[in-house]
């Protein structure tokens, strides 16, 4: 738990080559897009630097020669290149974005599928909200990197290469003079990155402290208020908040120095062009058009540097998110299927527990040496106090968890030798808290299975007595279930879950009866439904209803993780043991209600 919690505090390193390599694997299927994007980039990258060159021609060949027609031609060429660039740019953006979205899509589906495979142990330990964030926000945070990030880097590089080519072809010595500033730029960038990384680490540290403080104190706000500590907590908060502010102000300083410094360097190149290039023009070694082109190139050249901080942010966000995502993908809490599965045929539903030991946490056994046998078609009621191990029995029978020692067999085959999906096909589980999905009543009964026909759904609903209220709904079986069935009564929801279990027509039915009390009318409906449900199949019921217990073929009495007594209602009452006391505690009142 403790480790999981820190997950959300991962703010990410700026760059992690291991993560990056793993992320790039997701680009693999879209090599074509990448190739297309790169080739379009090379093309588009040339068009930008081409225009200053055309400008040079305009100045030197036409304006100087007073060639009106030629100038018009050049203007036409410029316009053509501009339009062409705009179109290519549009498709480039579109396709890189499409690639990014497709990668995001793949990753999202992969994460979701992975989560579907995770064992319940994972869900027990992880708050749902956190898992949801992984498939939603965290994945989305990678979008910028895949769509704009990667391609933008290529495009910057190509633009710079083209600028070099044009510059050197026009005047290699002016090019060298102009570019002499670059080493300073590199050094400044290097220093800046180092400083900013330090400052960022500092900001991150204080941000994490701020978040931890807030998280903790929002959770424990009642304690703050009960002890009237608002003033002193505000003081503490302010000091943490202040440190966070100071760390940020410090990082502002580096940005405040860096950007003007880059401007300053860029102005030096302009000055160099004017001084050196201008001198050469006077000596008639160079033309004014070349100066024009060089001045424009300077402008283009510095743009990627200015975008540096933005790219840095994109990378950082992506790293933090991907670290969390990969951590989830690396979580292999699975219940494994056998390598050579047994395919059960003609399942009858005989269940046997042989000396079963089970623990959720190593060393804390919740089931100790439990053995019993259920014949096909029998109904067995499990009773016991809270924590006696009743729910654990059904959790291991469905292989939500695996047992530690002993064995559970279905028609004589160990359930671990059957694929778990196969096993679960024979079992319908009805939980205490009915879970309804958004969708229609129909889809909540069939759970989207195309093997269950509309008739079967209605049939199941009729059998459990749900048909009457369903057909009275405005849209009948197509009525939308809103907000987890908030508009339905507790009893109605239970009937739907019964219909669901019945529609799947399982060999084995497991029912965890709801403890919550409902009105007598629905109670009668539900009792009838349960009776119908249990007919003709092996049934295991964690019973809270006296009627269910009395109708059972056998009662298993669980106590502190052990099976202590078993027999029929009357037999067990006579024993005056655990069941007798449980009866007094939990079931006797129902008898009184009945007689009333």
């Amino acid at each position: 738990m403790a480790e999981e919690q820190k997950d959300d505090e991962i703010l990410g390193k700026a760059y992690d080559s291991k993560l990056m390599r793993r992320l790039l694997k997701y680009v693999q299927p879209y090599k074509k897009y990448v190739l297309l994007a790169i080739s379009l980039n090379i093309l588009v990258a040339a068009l930008g630097p081409l225009r200053p060159y055309l400008g040079k021609i305009a100045f030197d060949d036409y304006i100087a020669a007073k060639n009106y027609h030629g100038l018009l031609l050049i203007a036409g060429a410029l316009l053509g290149s501009l339009i062409f660039q705009a179109i290519v740019q549009y498709f480039l953006t579109y396709y890189t974005e499409l690639m990014g979205q497709k990668i995001i899509f793949d990753l999202r589906v992969q994460i979701f599928s992975h989560i579907q495979k995770l064992a319940l142990k994972y869900f027990d330990k992880t708050p749902i909200g956190r898992t949801v964030t992984r498939v939603t926000n965290d994945v989305d945070a990678l979008n910028d990197m895949f769509s704009s990030g990667i391609v933008a880097v290529f495009s910057d590089v190509f633009v710079i290469i083209w600028i070099f080519i044009f510059m050197f072809s026009m005047s290699w010595d002016l090019a060298l003079v102009t570019l002499s500033v670059i080493p300073f730029l590199f050094y400044a960038t290097f220093l800046f990155r180092k400083k900013v990384r330090e400052a960022y680490r500092d900001v991150r540290f204080h941000l994490a402290r701020l978040n931890t403080y807030m998280q903790e104190h929002v959770t424990g706000m009642n304690i703050v208020q009960i002890f009237a500590k608002e003033k002193s907590e505000l003081k503490k908060f302010s000091s943490i908040n202040w440190n966070h502010r100071t760390a940020n102000v410090k990082s502002v300083f580096y940005y405040a120095v860096f950007f003007p410094f880059v401007e300053f360097l860029s102005s030096i190149t302009v000055a160099l062009i004017i001084w050196y290039g201008g001198g050469k023009v006077i000596q008639e070694h160079l033309t004014i058009g070349i100066l024009f082109a060089f001045l424009q190139y300077t402008e283009m050249f510095w743009r990627p540097v200015r975008d540096l901080s933005e790219k840095y942010n994109i990378l950082q966000t992506a790293m933090a998110s991907s670290e969390r995502i990969f951590k989830l993908l690396d979580n292999k809490t699975f219940i494994n299927d056998p390598e050579v599965p047994v395919q059960p045929e003609n399942v009858k539903g005989a269940i046997e527990f042989n000396n079963v030991w089970f623990a959720y946490n190593p060393g804390e056994h919740v089931l100790k040496n439990v053995s019993f046998k259920i014949n096909p078609g029998e109904t067995v009621a499990i009773v016991g106090a809270t924590g006696a191990g009743k729910t654990s029995l059904i959790n291991i029978l469905t292989r939500f968890y695996d047992i530690e020692k002993g064995s559970i067999t279905l028609d004589g085959t160990d359930i671990r030798e059957i694929r778990k999906h196969e096993l679960r096909k024979y079992i319908s589980l009805v939980l205490q808290d009915v879970f309804l999905f958004s969708g229609t009543i129909k889809s909540n009964i069939s759970l989207g299975s195309d093997k269950i026909t509309g008739d079967q759904i209605v049939e199941a609903a009729k059998t459990v007595g749900a048909h009457r209220f369903i057909s009275q709904l405005p849209n009948g079986y197509d009525e939308e279930v809103k907000e987890k069935g908030a508009t339905l009564s507790v009893g109605q929801k239970q009937l739907i879950s019964f219909a669901r279990a019945l529609a799947y027509n399982p060999q084995i039915l497991i029912l965890d009866e709801a403890t919550s009390s409902i009105d007598t009318e629905s109670e009668q409906l539900i009792q009838n439904a349960i009776e119908k449900l249990l007919v003709g199949r092996t049934s295991i019921v964690i019973a809270h209803r006296l009627s269910t217990i009395q109708n059972a073929d056998k009662i298993l009495v669980m106590h502190k993780g052990e099976l202590k007594e078993s027999g029929t209602h009357q037999e067990l009452l006579i024993k005056k043991g655990i069941y007798y006391r449980l009866y007094q505690l939990q079931y006797k009142d129902q008898e009184i209600v009945k007689t009333v």
Binding site: E97, T136, E230, I282
Partner: protein, 583 residues
């Protein structure tokens, strides 16, 4: 449209000096920036007419010098405006926290911690982006725009007119695109929320999905949702991808116009070549304001939405606070508690929890409240330190209505041990002394003895200085309960309230604690809530709550003899004890 951001005015006013300086620096910095193209113009012109090398050197140096000055001012802009944005962020977050602390328990029950956290982090952050970058860029770009245009006109009104010709078309185009973008963006947001909902639903219902083997189906459904999300996103991208080309078209088009028309004018001898250079430079300076316009508009929109959410919290009423009725003369309490016709419900549409209840507890007595789960025991005691206020009737301490007692006096005199144990991730000592002003080590040891914590502490790695929670050791449920008891005792309360505080403590330890408590609480008022008969049986008076009313009242013996709810609970507990002793 962005009305919510107007509420930031008081923060801006607070830093008006620094902000005005910032604006001044923006003016000065831009003044330098717009001077540079003029220098370039003169340099170039010197190349076509008088061929003066010294002028070139002079201008080259001037360009570097001017940029340096501009750079210093631009540094100062960030040091003022952006720093102010951090100051305002600090103030806003502080105000937020101060406000949150005063909100009633109800607020924290209705809003998840994650939700509150996202206001304190994301929303405040996006408001800060408005205060800092958005304000800086808007002013900077506005100033630049209004400085450049007049210069261009002064150089050549006709060329300025031509060069800026594409501008209105661009504005209209952007406006049209933006309008559509908004619609498509909303559709994406909707799908994203669907996606979140279905993931949420799937993970909550994972047991059902697994037991009915519906994983493949669910993956299919989710894949479809994701695909729809992708499609909607690409629908937006189709438009969004136009932005950059449009901007570059504008910039490029203007430059072409300048070269073509400007070139013609040069050939006609109406314009100098240098002016064309200057125009091209000015245009490249102007393109940034245009591009950043969309960016800034986006920040503002987000900040406004965030501010709206923040204001919703800032407008949450305190419900429980000192007011004009508060009698500041009350500085200490004795401990006689009286409920007079108290009725309580959590809110208007909720059922009545306490129904016209009246009783009195004399100071120095120990009383207990017992009853089935959900009968309102906790609600009843929450009314004493005013975690909630009564719906009608009054709660009196020493004959004074609790609403008239200063809140901190009331709460420092009432030691409440809530049902849910919460300890801070801090040392045990600091946790125990949490409610005290200047706690002593003696106090820690004394209350730990009473709470039967001392024997456990011996086994902790650093004794009382051991850090609890994630970064330290994890306490057992019983240890936690005893620590929270010690914490309540440390404030030396006149009234001690234990809300089911021994549920995880074994009966033997419980007995020991109760014995010691009796001594400690001799002159104080104690209220005990419990499910266990053993905890309450020695109380002076036992109240049995049922259906919002006091159903039974008396001592243990009297109530057992009565044969009602208490007797039933007593009987059940005997059975449970028997059961738990069986093996």
């Amino acid at each position: 449209m962005f009305g919510h951001l107007a509420h930031l005015k008081k923060y801006f006013v607070r830093y008006k000096k620094k902000l005005s300086l910032g604006v001044l620096f923006i003016l000065l910095s831009n003044l330098c920036t717009v001077y540079i193209p003029l220098l370039i113009k003169d340099s170039i012109n010197s190349l076509t007419s008088n061929f003066s090398f010294p002028l070139l050197v002079n201008h080259a140096l001037l360009i570097v010098g001017t940029t340096l000055v501009a750079g210093v001012f631009s540094f100062l802009i960030r040091q003022t405006i952006i720093v102010v944005s951090r100051e305002i962020e600090f103030d806003l977050r502080k105000d937020f926290w101060e406000h949150i602390q005063k909100l009633p328990l109800r607020f924290f029950q209705n809003n998840s911690t994650g939700n509150i956290m996202s206001h304190a982090t994301n929303d405040i952050n996006s408001v800060r982006s408005f205060v800092g970058p958005a304000v800086m860029y808007s002013i900077d770009n506005g100033v630049l725009f209004f400085m450049i245009i007049p210069i261009m006109i002064s150089l050549s009104p006709l060329l300025t007119l031509y060069a800026l010709l594409p501008l209105p078309f661009l504005s209209i185009l952007i406006y049209l695109v933006m309008k559509k973008v908004h619609v498509r963006y909303t559709r994406i947001q909707e799908k994203f929320s669907d996606l979140t909902t279905s993931a949420q639903e799937n993970f909550s219902g994972i047991r059902v999905i697994k037991s009915y083997v519906r994983e493949e189906y669910e993956i299919d459904q989710f894949t479809k949702e994701s695909d729809e999300y992708l499609k909607r996103k690409m629908h937006l991208v189709k438009l969004q991808a136009m932005f950059q080309p449009i901007f570059f078209m504008l910039a490029g088009l203007s430059s072409i116009i300048v070269i073509l028309f400007g070139g013609n004018m040069v050939m006609d001898g109406k314009l100098s070549v240098g002016t064309i250079f200057a125009f091209v430079f000015y245009l490249s300076l102007l393109i940034w304001p245009m591009i950043s316009f969309g960016f800034v508009a986006n920040i503002i929109q987000q900040a406004d939405a965030s501010m709206k959410r923040l204001l919703k919290i800032f407008n949450e009423p305190y419900e429980v606070s000192d007011n004009g009725e508060t009698d500041s003369a009350v500085q200490s309490l004795e401990g006689t508690i009286e409920f007079k016709n108290v009725t309580f419900r959590y809110s208007e549409n909720f059922p009545v929890v306490l129904d016209n209840i009246s009783f009195k507890i004399e100071k120095g007595k120990t009383v207990a409240f017992i009853g089935y789960t959900g009968v309102g025991k906790t609600s009843l005691i929450d009314l004493i330190p005013r975690l909630y206020d009564v719906t009608s009737g009054e709660v009196l301490i020493d004959g004074i209505n609790v609403k008239n007692i200063p809140l901190d006096v009331l709460r420092t005199n009432v030691g409440l041990v809530p049902q849910e144990t919460f300890l801070f991730s801090d040392t045990l000592t600091n946790n125990i002394l949490y409610g005290t002003e200047n706690g002593l080590q003696e106090t820690v040891e004394k209350v730990s003895d009473i709470a039967q914590l001392s024997k456990d502490v011996k086994d902790f790695p650093n004794g009382y200085e051991t850090i609890l929670g994630e970064r330290g050791i994890t306490l057992s449920g019983g240890q936690k309960q005893r620590s929270t008891l010690a914490r309540a005792l440390a404030i030396d309360p006149k009234i001690l309230i234990l809300d089911d505080s021994f549920s995880a403590v074994d009966t033997h330890t419980e007995e020991e604690i109760l014995k010691r408590l009796k001594e400690f609480m001799a002159k104080r008022t104690s209220i005990i809530i419990s499910h266990r008969i053993s905890t309450v049986k020695d109380s002076d008076k036992i109240f049995v709550l049922d259906k919002g009313k006091i159903a039974e009242l008396g001592t243990h013996e009297e109530l057992v003899a009565l044969g009602g709810i208490y007797a039933d609970l007593h009987y059940r507990q005997l059975l449970e004890e028997e059961l738990s002793e069986m093996s």
